[in-house]
């Protein structure tokens, strides 16, 4: 394949130090040749836009002294996320099967610790570990671990899910989910529901089981809403999008959030107010705008052009994950991709849907856009898994 006259095509790479990266590079059929650049490009574009909008929402009003702390931190989170994504791709995803029991138990212990009182409380939830200037949110890590664990289990069952195996799979998801619900973190709990439904459907669960589970889920949500398990504010947020004004609620906050979010997006129009020019954004009228309501800043300042582009990029990401699920070499790869896709699509739909008043308000971050370390890191690791499956679809 190489001639003596010209240096071999990959000869320079032989000088790369031994190691995982080196090993793969040396192989002409290396998985690295099959990395999904469309996905990577989309993710990086959305992350960059996220940083920009976080800056717009947090820089404050003093032109001589803009607050850049949120921008810098989020930049750091994205950089860390890219590294974590790369690291995730280094090891063949099939080897994660062997590691997943350890990770699963580790995450369970973290969740137990955080609920048992070691966690710091913020906004009514015990969901964080304080690590110096940063907070670690174990429930975000739990999402990755549960996706891999459930995929491994279903693949192990060879996709033949009878009732007993189904129960096992449900238990695997149910335990961490219950702990997260105790925090309480309703949004992440619902992500788990979406992830397991998606994976069970693709994993071969019988239709009647799925129907039964759905029924149980609906009844369960009804019971939870009426049982008093939820704080009043949670109930109000969940029901405010229905636009029936519940008198019991101090519904003002929830309705205010929603109204101002819709006003911000709606006032953007086709071309938007211009970057940094949105009055709803600049004047702090929309609450939580750099985190859960980041989409309103895009809508107001960049208009339909900008928000539509963002939606398009997010759909491209979804499309590439779905495509990878199809191309995957084995059920494990498919299931991992479907888990990630379920999580991603649910978060996107729920988050953007709530800012536009078609979904209930729950605290779910918009992947790659919302400010936050744990959620950004998790999103990148998940994408690392998908890239991993994609690049190893031939090996």
């Amino acid at each position: 394949m190489a001639t003596t006259q010209s240096p071999p095509a990959y000869s320079t790479r032989t000088r790369v130090a031994p190691g995982a990266l080196g090993r793969m590079s040396r192989n002409p059929a290396s998985a690295w040749r099959h990395i999904d650049m469309v996905l990577v490009g989309s993710i990086l574009s959305v992350s960059a836009l996220g940083c920009l909008m976080i800056f717009s929402a947090t820089r404050g009003r003093d032109p001589s002294d803009f607050d850049t702390s949120f921008l810098l931190k989020q930049g750091l989170f994205v950089a860390g996320g890219v590294v974590a994504m790369l690291v995730t791709t280094l090891v063949d995803y099939r080897r994660y099967r062997d590691l997943v029991p350890v990770a699963y138990l580790g995450v369970l212990s973290l969740l137990l610790l955080v609920v048992s009182g070691l966690g710091s409380e913020r906004k009514g939830s015990q969901a964080w570990f304080a690590l110096g200037p940063f907070q670690l949110q174990p429930s975000e890590l739990a999402k990755v671990v549960v996706i891999v664990a459930l995929a491994s289990l279903i693949a192990h069952f060879n996709s033949e899910l009878d009732a007993a195996r189904l129960a096992g799979a449900l238990a695997l998801v149910g335990v961490p989910m219950a702990l997260i619900m105790l925090q309480p973190d309703l949004g992440t709990t619902l992500v788990f529901v979406a992830v397991s439904m998606g994976m069970l459907l693709i994993g071969g669960a019988q239709i009647r089981h799925i129907v039964a589970l759905t029924l149980v889920g609906v009844v369960g949500v009804g019971l939870v809403l009426n049982s008093g398990m939820l704080e009043t504010y949670q109930q109000c947020r969940l029901t405010s999008f229905l636009e029936q004004h519940n008198q019991d609620c101090e519904e003002r906050d929830a309705a205010y959030n929603l109204d101002q979010a819709k006003v911000a997006i709606g006032s953007g129009g086709v071309t938007g107010a211009g970057l940094f020019e949105g009055t709803q954004t600049r004047l702090d009228i929309v609450p939580e705008q750099h985190t859960d309501f980041i989409f309103t800043a895009v809508g107001e300042e960049l208009g339909f052009v900008g928000a539509g582009t963002l939606l398009a990029l997010l759909s491209i990401i979804a499309w590439r994950i779905w495509r990878t699920a199809q191309l995957a070499r084995d059920p494990l790869g498919t299931l991992i991709c479907i888990g990630v896709l379920s999580m991603f699509v649910f978060q996107v739909f729920e988050n953007i849907g709530m800012t536009m008043g078609i979904m209930p308000i729950t605290g779910i971050p918009l992947p790659f856009m919302s400010y936050g370390g744990s959620s950004t890191l998790t999103a990148f690791i998940c994408m690392g898994l998908v890239l991993n499956v994609h690049m190893r679809r031939f090996t």
Binding site: S267, T279, L283
Partner: protein, 666 residues
């Protein structure tokens, strides 16, 4: 992944994902493209707050440009009732105790009870904080600002308030201002210059009548606010425009002389022995008006008792308000010159004389033998015998002498003949109609509020009156005696002091009745240019043969100059040769009270520059009590006595010297 095709499930999953994104796109399109306009409006409203910027109120000046009402900045302490109401009982008491203590420390002696009474006062609008103290020192404002946390509901603000350099001077004419009431606010809903519930508005007098001129055009400031409503920056500003200045016909010096002379005359009347021992001279209420007979300009208008408009600045105290509205204090807020209605007594005789001359009942030379006691011819009921004061007989009396000595007999006879001979000149209403030519029975149309109409009775009036009020058979019948009483300004005749002055002005100027005007012109508050000037406005004329007028004027000059003239002693020493004064005294009798002293005059008699009316309730004889007020005014107006001027403290340099009219006859 066997069973039903896993490929199918994956495709279905893909379709679901696609649908969800499609839903988000649709919703985004709906919000940003289809309903975008609605949201833009809301976003703008979120962002912008509009606040009114108060404009300075126009000033009120006298005819020479002297400022009678100006503006100054006052620091005002207010309590927000709605905030106070929400406090715990103990906390509320603590706040008020603290505030009362702080005010008292700064020499505004206040108790918690005072504050509570003030805050409970229903006259303050429920929508804005109640002012509890004005003119507080800067240190107190600083103290309140520093203790804002401990003093919820209490605030100290700088506000522009009215300033009165001359104190009470012309209080009734200029009126006062106060916080707008809900009703006034609603009535001014579509005013060109919008009001907020915190605005001041003119309540009486010129402040009220010229409200639309005096009020400045409030500016607006559009402020961008953040989510908490805290201001971020000023987006746009519309500067406030000061109100227009109102220039009065009043002269502060003449006004001051009028007020001092009036007050002095009342004090002296109270000291004089009453004509009947059981009817003391109360002498608390009086008024005087000085007009320019050629234009209707009001040069001075005084009413007693009076009030200080400055009491209303920063909100009038409850006790002061109650005092001003207590009947026992003779209603100091009332302008008796236009709101008081009195029988004019003998000052009415010139008008009766003109009516008789017009009707051909007499000529100036007609002589009547005054025997002192008048018997109504063929009397059918009611009073049949009328007497001169003290039944004094004046013998043969012509028109001139009837006025000079004030012969009642002469006018009793005219009154009776108006009734008895009515067929020869047009009927029972003619007497009243001729009297109404002078403007009686209707308001004069002066530019002040609450003016009264007065009354000229007649058979027709009595009939309609007895329809609304129950009259007994005796009082319901118009008899000769009613006309007899009417001829000397008694009975049911009522005039306001202003109407009397207008009537005397008309006699003096040859028969033209002018609408009296307090305001001379309105000037732009910034440039000083005249915006509108009030032109003299005739409201009617009275036909007078020059020979009649000549006789009447001679008779009236006799009042102040001749032997037997009823105001001769009051005008003793006056330069009559160069400055003759035509005048008439009146002493109106009322049941069970001391007589009301009345005086009407114009001077110089043949080309008058001033017409004056004076009226003192329950004070005695017109010649001895009311005439000296006019004398004092004419002393300075004629230049006989130098016009007193104000020193820097706003006090007249010279107290008036009133001549004592002596024991005059009427």
């Amino acid at each position: 992944m066997n069973q039903d095709s896993p490929r199918l499930r994956l495709s279905i999953f893909g379709i679901v994902v696609f649908s969800l994104f499609a839903a988000l796109f649709s919703r985004l399109w709906y919000l940003q493209v289809m309903t975008n306009d609605d949201f833009e409006v809301v976003a703008e409203a979120n962002r912008i707050r509009e606040v009114a910027v108060e404009a300075p109120r126009g000033r009120i000046l006298d005819r020479n440009g002297t400022v009678i009402v100006g503006n100054r900045i006052s620091i005002q302490v207010s309590v927000d009732r709605s905030v106070l109401r929400d406090l715990e009982e103990a906390e509320r008491t603590e706040v008020l105790t603290q505030l009362a203590g702080a005010l008292s420390r700064h020499s505004i002696n206040t108790t918690v009870e005072d504050l509570e009474a003030r805050i409970a006062d229903q006259r303050f609008s429920p929508y804005v904080p109640v002012p509890v103290a004005g003119r507080v020192p800067e240190e107190l404002k600083i103290w309140i600002d520093e203790h804002a946390e401990a003093l919820p509901s209490v605030s100290a603000e700088r506000v522009a308030v009215r300033e009165y350099p001359y104190g009470r001077l012309a209080a009734h004419v200029i009126g006062y201002t106060g916080k707008i009431t809900k009703e006034e606010h609603d009535a001014k809903g579509d005013a060109e210059k919008p009001y907020t519930l915190n605005d001041e508005i003119g309540k009486t007098g010129i402040e009220r009548i010229y409200e639309d001129d005096l009020r400045g055009h409030p500016g607006t400031r559009q402020i961008e606010v953040d989510a908490d409503g805290d201001p971020v920056r000023v987006v746009a500003e519309n500067a406030p425009v000061p109100g227009n200045d109102v220039v009065l016909n009043l002269d502060v010096n003449v006004q001051a002389v009028a007020e001092q002379a009036l007050q002095e005359a009342l004090s002296r009347a109270a000291e004089r022995p009453p004509s009947r021992a059981d009817l003391p001279n109360v002498a608390k209420v009086g008024s005087t008006v000085v007009l320019d007979p050629n234009t209707g300009a009001v040069l001075a208008m005084a009413s007693a008792p009076s009030f200080a408009p400055s009491e209303f600045v920063d909100g009038i105290s409850t006790s002061e308000w109650d005092y001003l509205n207590d009947k026992a204090n003779f209603h100091p807020l009332n302008n008796w010159a236009i709101q008081g209605q009195y029988p004019p007594g003998s000052t009415f005789k010139p008008f009766t004389a003109v009516a008789a001359l017009q009707s051909g009942l007499i000529s100036p030379a007609t002589t009547v033998n005054d025997t002192g006691v008048y018997e109504v011819p063929s009397c059918t009921g009611g009073t049949c015998t009328f007497r001169n004061d003290g039944s004094r007989a004046y013998g043969p009396v012509d028109l001139r002498r009837s006025l000079t000595v004030s012969s009642d007999y002469y006018y009793y006879d005219l009154g009776a003949r108006f009734w008895i001979e009515q067929e020869s000149f047009g009927g029972p209403e003619v007497f009243a109609d001729r009297l109404k030519q002078w403007g009686f029975h209707n308001d004069t149309g002066i530019d002040l509020s609450s003016e009264q109409d007065g009354r000229i009775p007649s058979p027709a009036w009595l009939a309609s009156y007895c329809e609304s009020v129950e009259c007994n058979e005796d009082s319901a019948t118009w008899r000769t005696g009613n006309n007899v009483n009417m001829a000397i300004g008694q009975g049911d005749v009522l005039v306001t002091p202003l109407q009397l002055a207008v009537g005397y002005a008309a006699i003096g100027n040859g028969g033209t009745r002018y609408v009296p005007h307090v305001v001379k012109e309105v000037r732009d508050g910034v440039s000083g240019e005249v915006v509108s000037a009030i032109e003299p406005q005739a409201s009617g004329t009275v036909e007078m043969d020059p020979a009649w007028r000549q006789a009447i004027i001679e008779g009236l000059i006799g009042v102040t100059t001749r032997e037997g003239g009823t105001a001769r002693s009051a005008f003793a020493g006056f330069p009559h040769e160069t400055y003759p004064v035509a005048a008439k005294t009146g002493t109106a009798q009322a049941k069970d009270e001391a007589p009301t002293a009345v005086f009407g005059a114009f001077a110089p008699a043949h080309a008058p520059q001033f017409a004056i009316s004076v009226l003192l309730e329950e004070s005695g004889y017109g010649g001895s009590v009311a005439a000296p007020v006019a004398r004092r005014l004419l002393d300075v107006l004629s230049g006989t006595v130098p016009m007193p001027t104000f020193n820097e403290e706003g006090v007249l340099t010279e107290a008036p010297v009133l001549v004592d009219g002596g024991e005059a006859i009427d």
